[in-house]
């Protein structure tokens, strides 16, 4: 069944007007799928992730519908969401350090969390300990305070806690960004392990680091300025991206083995547009090397090949791509 997001619009209310951070977003994630969500900062990817779990007071759903396992997810109703949060949808936030209560031992914090959901810690303990061991930690970590754990250990503990009730949807927001390469790898492999063991059904991995997604994701969704730019299988996005934004994003990443004197990489000039009054037409137009007249109209997000969806006039209008970057 998985997750289906249909024409979702989420904005931030400000004194100067609504900032549409998620604008008409439609996609779905199948059961057992790990979907990566990529893009620069300020393109709405964290807003999309957060809106599926908890809307904060500034956020408002302007339209659209979210379905999880065939049931509607009442994302704009904070009270109704209580039944889904932690049990059906769960998030691993960007800074696991701030997700743990510094005044409680880890085990006690979990006990309080379960109690708040009407569950019993004692009966959940064996499973909790099993999973803590599974991610390579000792069970006595539950008797420790968060300050006694390293960044990578905290990140794992938070992942174990978030997935304890086998949620249907797990949102992992920049979980590897603050970690060292070797710990990044361990956490990335945990995501795969959790999926393989059916701890979570669908996973959404939000990151700006496409190379992490190349390792763990099945499909990759690229967002730009609140809109969807491209979605396809991970290897297709990495090896044969169609949207100029994806192409530039990938070509700006130094891979191991690329040296400056042999191959100088270039970044993407400019910045994403402000979302308070976004430009009409394709939002990437100003930074796009292939922009042409038609880009003043908004490109539709259409399937150009089986399983490969792109919002770009180069591909939607039957014009062949001019070689790539």
């Amino acid at each position: 069944m998985g997750l289906t997001v249909d024409h979702l619009q989420v904005c931030y209310r400000t004194l100067r007007g609504d900032v549409k951070a998620v604008d008409n977003v439609t996609f779905s994630i199948e059961d057992g799928e790990i979907m990566g969500l990529a893009g620069e900062s300020g393109c709405g990817k964290s807003t999309l992730g957060n809106s599926l779990v908890r809307m904060d007071v500034r956020m408002r759903q302007l339209g659209g519908r979210v379905e999880l396992d065939g049931k509607e997810l009442p994302i704009s109703d904070a009270r109704a969401m209580r039944d889904f949060r932690f049990k059906e949808v769960s998030i691993v936030p960007q800074y696991a350090m701030s997700a743990l209560n510094p005044t409680r031992r880890v085990g006690r914090m979990v006990a309080e969390l379960l109690k708040a959901r009407g569950l019993d810690y004692k009966s959940a303990l064996p499973e909790l300990e099993r999973r803590v061991k599974l991610v390579g930690l000792d069970a006595d970590i539950l008797k420790r305070y968060p300050i006694e754990l390293s960044g990578g250990m905290k990140q794992r503990v938070v992942m174990v806690i978030s997935t304890l009730l086998n949620p249907s949807l797990l949102i992992a927001d920049e979980i590897t960004s603050a970690l060292d390469v070797s710990t990044q790898r361990a956490v990335g492999e945990m995501l795969l392990e959790f999926r393989d063991r059916n701890f979570v059904k669908t996973t959404m991995v939000i990151t700006h680091d496409l190379s992490i997604l190349a390792q763990v994701a099945d499909t990759i969704l690229v967002m730009y300025a609140g809109k969807l730019a491209e979605k396809a299988k991970a290897d297709v996005v990495i090896n044969n991206p169609l949207h100029p934004y994806t192409q530039l994003l990938i070509s700006s990443l130094p891979d191991v083995g690329i040296r400056h004197d042999e191959h100088t990489l270039v970044g993407i000039p400019g910045r994403p547009p402000p979302l308070l009054n976004p430009p009409v037409g394709c939002r990437f137009r100003d930074r796009c090397p292939f922009a042409f007249d038609r880009c003043t109209d908004e490109p539709p997000f259409v399937e150009v090949k089986p399983g490969h969806t792109v919002a770009c006039w180069l591909h939607a209008g039957g014009v062949s791509p001019s070689g790539g970057v």
Partner: protein, 346 residues
């Protein structure tokens, strides 16, 4: 240009400063002009501490840092100010490097106040515009702007421009791009690389191996405060000799190559350091695992006995224990300009 000789830094730990934690252990290397030197290590490897010691932000415990023949620990007052004319640092978080109350270009005004009080306003403006253009910024875009109006990449470039206003010879770049978006990251990297053509030496502190490999001539790999491998970048990356360097290289997420499926199964992730037994003199993979050394908590007496036994057998490898007891191995030149700390043969 800058030579570190057996530099050590020990931090006091505990409430009354009773314990010590060696953060940097016997680091010796050289930074040459016109080269980018990468200092690569994981969190806690002492890479930032080294950068801070070079910038005289924290004193060395033992050893010397020599800049153009002068021990920097002896610099005072005017001499120290002259040192900062030549050596400057740029740090990880561009937003906290600025005071958000003032406009971002105030950083130039403070330089003028401290170092160039005699320069006229018009000439200063020309100089500032010149350095801004040399770091790839349009002066019109950044003048009179507040920090929140500029992107992370722009702010970092302003800080580099600020350093360039001085007669700078060495730039300490401490994780300067880890908080910048991937799309503008590479522009800042290319800028660093252009600086070296002006004869500047750059110490590029990072935990990201692919970035280090991309821009640097020389690479230094730090582990628990000690240099384990260093040399010309292509030699270190193409022919890594130390197990730790190899482990780091296999962990780097790459676009076109999946992590090898050698770990990830349950037996691997739960493997403990005890399995290292029987392979003396060699760092096995699991001992390099970030969590190696964590032991199940047992009764206090049983635990103490076990700890003693394991310490005797060299099995328990907690980070602090290793920092305090592990011998800093001398670097051996395995090929020209490629040095490795090789565990002594038993």
């Amino acid at each position: 240009m800058l030579v570190l000789d057996n530099v050590t830094k020990a931090f006091k730990t505990g409430t009354f400063g009773g314990g010590t934690l060696p953060a940097v252990r016997g680091a010796s290397f050289e930074i040459r002009p016109g080269e980018v030197t990468s200092l690569i290590g994981e969190s806690g490897s002492g890479k930032s501490t080294l950068g801070k010691m070079i910038l005289r932000l924290t004193p060395v415990t033992s050893g010397t840092i020599t800049f153009e023949g002068t021990d920097i620990a002896t610099l005072k007052g005017k001499q120290l100010r002259e040192y900062y004319r030549h050596v400057q640092g740029v740090f990880q978080d561009p937003f906290s490097s600025y005071n958000p109350v003032y406009r971002a270009d105030r950083v130039f005004a403070t330089i003028r106040h401290s170092y160039f009080p005699g320069v006229s306003t018009d000439e200063w403006r020309v100089r500032v515009d010149e350095v801004l253009e040399s770091v790839g910024l349009n002066p019109v875009d950044v003048r009179d702007k507040f920090t929140h109006q500029l992107s992370g990449g722009q702010l970092q470039r302003i800080l580099i421009a600020r350093a360039l206003l001085l007669d700078i010879k060495l730039l300490i770049a401490d994780e300067i791009i880890s908080m910048i978006d991937a799309s503008t990251r590479v522009d800042v990297l290319n800028l660093l690389s252009n600086l070296k053509t002006r004869g500047l030496g750059v110490l590029f502190v990072t935990h990201d191996l692919s970035l280090g490999n991309y821009i640097s001539e020389r690479t230094i790999i730090l582990r628990r405060g000690a240099v384990v491998e260093m040399g010309a970048t292509p030699k270190v990356f193409d022919n890594p000799q130390h197990e730790y360097t190899r482990m780091l290289l296999t962990s780097v997420p790459q676009l076109h190559k999946k992590w090898e499926a050698e770990s990830g199964s349950e037996s691997e992730t739960t493997r403990t350091a005890s399995e290292d037994h029987g392979r003396p003199g060699r760092y096995s993979k699991s001992s390099l695992h970030p969590l190696a050394g964590m032991r199940a908590r047992k009764g206090r007496r049983a635990k103490a006995a076990e700890t003693e036994r394991e310490l005797a057998a060299g099995l328990l490898r907690t980070d602090t224990y290793l920092r305090t007891h592990e011998e800093v191995l001398p670097l051996v030149e395995v090929e020209e300009d490629h040095f490795v700390a090789i565990p002594a043969a038993k």
